[in-house]
């Protein structure tokens, strides 16, 4: 079924009218309620009432992750604090985390788009869903929860981890739908085999996987392992969390809910729009959000877009799976990791930054492993093993505190980390995504 057929299947002209209406209201709202945006709009020479149609969006300034960080915590909010009902936080590139706030209407919007996601993946109203995304400050768990509530599904909120229990719940309650990260789906298949459970005999028939990039070959692996349909969900906390775009059963691009999240694909260097089918950076404007509406937010995700109507009947534009990033962010077990965060920790401990390298691997058990190699320098070398192991453990503890991901720290000899063009190569990603 299609949750919001009137907009999801609207013809393009009608959709543009809707988008224009939203944008016409959004710009004055932001201008009068958010001093940071008022300044940005004035700097770009845009008067609030000059925005009359969705085509005017090209005249608006971009918003970046740096804007969010620079105006932390509340600078980009348009709604007053007393109207904010829920807050989520994700780790930032350095220092400040990224904070997002939802008004009651924003939560209703989130519920609506997540209900669209669930239907798009193939959920039916009498289905049971096991939500194995983390509940808490991470938007994954609660986003799925709200959508499932909206749709009236039976919800099993297992959150992430405790794999044996996840599998028992699957067997006991027979949910047809599972939501988790794709790497966790593969990990659970391995664990199931260890426990003597044949994953192909499992109950999940539809998987909604996201929060990390994954390829069609991983999709094939998951579908073969679990005998299920594996679909991709896209979202980011700055925009709403999960619920920005979702694949339908045809798995031919992710339907982006463009009546509320207006997409543009640009050349990240020039800011110019690229043609449909060409790779570029995804830029999103939240047309109806109240808490923190964002204008032309640079997601840094590289995708392409098509406006052709899908076989499923939805007219919404479709974006490709994420093909890369314009920055050096990597995603590990659903958590965003920037090398700059690790640099920050090392500088804090050592005063200056030693050469380091992040090695990400998805080894035997298919969960991502992060190893941080740190080159030993004379100024912190000691003849006593205990000082070196203490140093290693301090680095490990502090990196884990910042990233919320377990890491292994290994001290290595100087010059063993490969340099490229004088700078050492910061990330080695050995995973097959």
């Amino acid at each position: 079924m299609i949750w919001k057929e009137d907009v999801e299947c609207a013809d393009r002209a009608a959709l543009q009218v809707l988008q224009s209406d939203h944008l016409k209201k959004l710009i004055p709202y932001i201008y009068h309620n958010c001093p940071v945006y008022k300044q940005k709009l004035e700097d770009a020479g845009v008067s609030p009432d000059s925005v009359q149609s969705i085509d005017d969006i090209k005249r608006l300034p971009f918003t970046t992750k740096e804007d969010m960080r620079d105006h932390y915590p509340y600078g980009l909010f348009s709604a007053p604090q007393e109207q904010i009902n829920e807050i989520h936080v994700s780790s930032g590139t350095t220092g400040n985390p990224t904070l997002v706030g939802y008004t009651r209407d924003d939560l209703a919007l989130w519920s609506d788009v997540m209900a669209r996601v669930l239907c798009c993946a193939g959920a039916e109203p009498d289905d049971t869903i096991q939500i194995a995304y983390g509940y808490g400050l991470f938007t994954g768990g609660l986003g799925f929860h709200y959508g499932a509530l909206e749709m009236g599904l039976r919800i099993i909120p297992t959150s992430s981890g405790q794999t044996a229990r996840q599998l028992k719940i699957m067997q006991d309650f027979k949910p047809r739908i599972i939501g988790c990260t794709p790497s966790y789906a593969l990990y659970m298949a391995e664990e199931a085999k260890e426990l003597g459970i044949d994953p192909r005999e499992g109950n999940w028939r539809i998987g909604i996987f996201g929060a990390e990039p994954w390829s069609d070959s991983i999709r094939q692996e998951i579908e073969d392992a679990w005998n299920m349909l594996a679909t991709d969900v896209y979202g980011l906390s700055e925009i709403i969390g999960p619920g920005v775009a979702q694949e339908c059963q045809y798995k031919d691009g992710l339907h982006i809910f463009s009546d509320v999240f207006f997409p543009e694909i640009i050349n990240p260097e020039t800011g110019e729009e690229v043609a449909p089918g060409e790779d570029g950076e995804l830029v999103i404007t939240t047309l109806t959000k109240q808490g923190i509406p964002l204008i032309r937010y640079r997601t840094r995700d590289i995708v392409s877009i098509t406006y052709e109507t899908c076989r499923c009947g939805r007219t919404s534009p479709r974006i490709s799976k994420i093909k890369g990033r314009t920055d050096d962010m990597i995603v590990v077990r659903g958590i965003n990791v920037f090398p700059s965060q690790i640099e920050h920790v090392l500088v804090g401990i050592e005063g200056t930054q030693p050469h380091y390298q992040i090695v990400v691997d998805r080894a035997a058990h298919k969960l991502d492993q992060v190893e941080v190699l740190v080159e030993v320098e004379e100024r912190f070398f000691s003849d006593e093993i205990k000082h070196l192991t203490e140093l290693r453990d301090t680095i490990k503890k502090e990196i884990q505190a910042v990233l919320s991901v377990g890491v292994k720290v290994t001290l290595v000899e100087p010059k063993t980390i490969e340099r490229s063009m004088g700078k050492s190569k910061r990330i080695v990603d050995k995973r097959t995504l």
Binding site: E378, D383, T410, V412, E413
Partner: protein, 143 residues
């Protein structure tokens, strides 16, 4: 009198110890005493050589992390209970030993041991008080 130990950081990698030893050997530096402390991923090689300054310069030139550490070399009677007698003095005088190891060859009829003390100066006072002979830098170089 303190003598100089050279400490070298080593990854647990095949052939790494061999590389250090052949580098020193090829340059005419003789290892007098040696020990390796290891963890699961790295180790620290501790050596006493005849030409310390030269050895450290050479190691650093070749990309190793190497430091000087002050240690004390002590002659101990080469007989049952010889080491225990010395250790008893340390224990009763609150001298803490970080680690210790033995020399490759003997100096006269006594065994030669290297001690890394928590406080080398204090340890030397105690040694002097108990008339335990320590080996000088010159003697090490002449070994």
């Amino acid at each position: 009198m303190k003598i100089t130990q050279i400490s070298v950081f080593l990854e647990n990698r095949k052939g790494r110890l061999h590389e250090v030893c052949s580098l020193l050997g090829d340059n005419g530096i003789n290892i007098r005493a040696l020990t390796v402390a290891e963890t699961e991923s790295f180790g620290v090689l501790r050596i006493v050589v005849d030409k310390s300054d030269e050895a450290v310069a050479l190691l650093r030139e070749n990309g190793f992390v190497a430091n000087f550490t002050d240690v004390v070399a002590i002659e101990v009677g080469d007989r049952p209970g010889g080491l225990a007698a010395v250790l008893k003095i340390f224990a009763t005088n609150d001298v803490n030993i970080e680690y210790m190891y033995a020399f490759v060859e003997k100096h006269s009829d006594k065994a030669l041991l290297v001690f890394r003390f928590e406080d080398a100066d204090f340890a030397q006072q105690v040694l002097a008080r108990h008339s335990i002979s320590v080996v000088t830098r010159k003697e090490i170089e002449g070994l």
